[in-house]
């Protein structure tokens, strides 16, 4: 089995993945062809082999995780149809992008895959896994990709994914001199009959024709590009309006809870909660503190004593990601959430599972992901980059790998504010109902 994906589709998946601060997933659309290759062996009996070629034409990204399945991995056919609409018949696989994880299908992915196979009626549904790792100092990043066909036997599950490209555009095929020939007949024949190829200016007719084809194609590319550009601007504008509305709603809600609280206090002064007596967990204590003191309009967190609400920080993120405009001081006071992909409990010493996950046994069901699970030290990245597989079990520095998870997961703002903004926040605390749940790999 062979598989191919165009460079533009591949880059587009990378682009959507880079834009998402959590895992990213979507569907692969394309077609499966059967190519027959005839080979003749010494015994003169021609044998033909049927090669299955999976061609990925484009991808349909999912806007959020859990958009067509729930936490138990149950696929909802209605949601599936809503996402795919009439492209359902073109689905040949699906993909998932995760950071700092192993190159293996997770249990949830496997059960989703089984259901998708059934629902979509594609017996050889493929799964493309993208895994992203970075060096400790974030100077080098690697995106690894493996194409699985899980419905086949367990020993033949990985398929090479090729990216067709220009290949050899070397211009050495032009001949700079003719093969010397003194035969007059030769010269006469080729001049007389070869004249067919040239027009009155001595230019080859084919060249003019192909150039016209190219010109028409480039014009079309240009015009569609113009349309895309317009649609991007419209999308940006509407997205901004939606964000503003969300902000206003959040503010309005906070205002009403504010007022309700004040009303309650006025009625029952002895039940008044002060920050010092608050026995709630740190995050909600912070919120209640903010509820008392936050001004009515959101402002960028200045170096004030009170840390801003999570919602303010979230909206900040949307407004602008220019690092010099945010001031991380106040953000640094917020509790440091869990690193992405790190276990909620102190994990045992890292198993040092290498990136070569193919023949390795699946991790124990109790701890499917140990946060790193791959040698993310620059040494191993070195070796990966050089194309060698690192088979040795490497001792990972657990502390530094947790840090890697944080920074590489975000990879956007300068470390402090970024870590606090986007990491490990349980879904319940997110006021605008974003469902990006950390540790969503299983």
């Amino acid at each position: 089995m062979a598989a191919s994906i165009s460079g533009y589709t591949f880059s587009s998946v990378c682009y959507h993945s880079a834009n998402s601060n959590s895992d990213h997933e979507g569907f692969l659309l394309g077609e499966v062809r059967h190519e027959e290759t005839v080979s003749i062996s010494d015994t003169q009996i021609s044998s033909s082999e049927l090669l299955q070629v999976v061609e990925v034409h484009n991808h349909e990204p999912c806007a959020q995780l859990f958009s067509f399945y729930d936490y138990a991995g149950q696929v909802n056919e209605e949601s599936l149809n809503r996402i795919l609409k009439d492209r359902r018949k073109n689905v040949i696989g699906w993909y998932r992008f995760r950071r700092n994880t192993q190159q293996q299908m997770s249990f949830r992915e496997q059960i989703i895959h089984k259901q998708l196979t059934q629902l979509l009626g594609v017996p050889d549904l493929v799964f493309l896994l993208f895994s992203f790792i970075s060096t400790a100092n974030n100077s080098t990043h690697a995106l690894e990709y493996v194409l699985f066909r899980p419905n086949r036997s367990r020993y033949n599950q990985r398929v090479t994914l090729s990216i067709p490209n220009l290949g050899n555009t070397s211009q050495q095929e032009y001949k700079v001199s003719s093969v010397p020939n003194t035969s007059l007949n030769y010269a006469k024949v080729i001049k007389e009959h070869g004249a067919e190829f040239f027009d009155k200016d001595g230019v080859m007719k084919d060249i003019r024709t192909i150039f016209q084809v190219y010109g028409a194609l480039q014009d079309k590319v240009q015009s569609v590009c113009g349309e895309v550009e317009q649609s991007e601007r419209v999308k940006e504008k509407v997205q901004e309006e939606v964000n503003k509305l969300k902000q206003q709603i959040v503010l309005r809600k906070r205002k009403t809870t504010d007022e309700e609280r004040r009303l309650q206090e006025a009625q029952n002064p002895e039940l008044r909660l002060t920050p010092e007596e608050n026995t709630e967990p740190p995050e909600t204590a912070l919120l209640s503190r903010v509820a008392f003191h936050t001004p009515s309009t959101p402002e960028r967190p200045g170096p004030s004593a009170n840390p801003p609400a999570y919602s303010d920080l979230l909206s900040l993120q949307n407004d602008s990601l220019l690092p010099f405009s945010s001031s991380p001081t106040s953000a640094a006071l917020l509790p440091r959430p869990q690193a992405v992909g790190s276990p909620g409990h102190p994990s045992p010493s890292p198993l040092g599972l290498g990136l070569s996950a193919g023949p390795n046994p699946a991790p124990s069901p109790g701890t499917p992901y140990l946060g790193n699970g791959d040698g993310s030290s620059s040494d191993s990245l070195d070796r990966q980059a050089a194309g060698q597989e690192d088979d040795d079990e490497e001792e990972d520095d657990e502390d530094s790998s947790e840090y890697e998870n944080l920074v590489s997961e975000v990879g956007q703002l300068p470390p402090v504010s970024a870590i606090v903004l986007l990491q490990g926040r349980p879904a319940a605390l997110s006021p605008d109902g974003d469902a990006s749940v950390r540790g969503s790999q299983t």
Partner: protein, 271 residues
């Protein structure tokens, strides 16, 4: 002052990836356009000011020297890049200039070669904050059938011993940018044009040779036709397809966003 980090906008990252994945037989290159900011936040803690290079878009360059292991930018290209950055500055209202260069390493390790490090050192002589990016692609581990794409950012420093240069690693982060900017789209569609231009230039040189017999001329013309066809099917075609898909996706997203906007407006009105 060394650069402390590079922030690469994701749509510029997209164009770099497109470019790097366009050919596996030779290295491609381009220039990075953006701005450098100094963040004096840490100054109050006694830490040196941070210089952060923001890359907003890239320009695809023509390879003047098509040798497999050499990537160098001619002065003409640098000057036309300067014009391009001026245009971007006009559009965004912010000062933009050439802040770095990128090139690809197909089938090769992502680390810069000695030539790369020396070239980078040379650029740093005219601009201390100049950064180099390398995209390594078409790497496959045959055992695990894992493909890899890597990218790294570096600058050059004088080595302690002797006059050789060595690289220093610069952290690079890809900044999310939900919509693709106009300049990035324009850069992306430049690629087929640049490829065709290169082909035309080569053919013209060949065509001007006078001592070729008709058969050779037909041969050369066919090579041109073949190469142009190859460009159209490998680059222009997939590019057009991706643009159409993106347009379709955007239209869909806009409809969904409009619905959400209406819903939110109603919700706000009832509060």
């Amino acid at each position: 002052m060394a650069v402390s980090a590079v922030h690469l906008e994701s749509d510029a990252f997209l164009v770099c990836m497109n470019h790097a994945l366009s050919t596996e037989k030779e290295e491609v290159m381009g220039l990075c356009i953006g701005e450098v900011t100094t963040d004096s936040f840490f100054a109050c803690f006694g830490v040196d000011t941070n210089r952060i290079v923001h890359i907003h878009s890239v320009i695809i360059l023509r390879r003047s020297d098509k040798r497999k292991d050499r990537v160098e930018i001619s002065p003409e290209q640098l000057s036309s890049a300067a014009t391009e950055s001026y245009r971007l500055a006009e559009m965004t209202g912010r000062p933009m200039r050439v802040v770095g260069w990128y090139h690809s390493h197909p089938h090769i390790t992502v680390w810069p070669s000695h030539v790369d490090v020396r070239t980078q050192a040379m650029y740093q002589m005219m601009d201390q904050g100049f950064v180099g990016l390398i995209f390594s692609c078409f790497i496959e581990d045959k055992n695990t059938k894992t493909g890899r794409v890597l990218y790294t950012c570096f600058q050059s420093v004088q080595a302690q011993k002797g006059s050789e240069y060595e690289r220093i690693e610069i952290p690079i982060h890809v900044i999310p940018h939900e919509a693709i900017g106009k300049v990035c789209l324009e850069s992306a569609v430049e690629l087929p044009r640049i490829l065709c231009q290169e082909e035309q230039d080569t053919y013209r040189k060949i065509h001007s040779l006078t001592q070729l017999d008709p058969i050779t001329k037909i041969h050369n013309g066919s090579v041109f036709t073949k190469n142009l066809c190859s460009q159209m099917s490998a680059v222009s075609g997939p590019l057009l397809q991706w643009l159409e898909d993106r347009l379709e996706q955007n239209k869909q997203n806009i409809i969904e966003l409009q619905l959400e906007k209406e819903r939110l407006t109603q919700e706000l009105a009832t509060m």
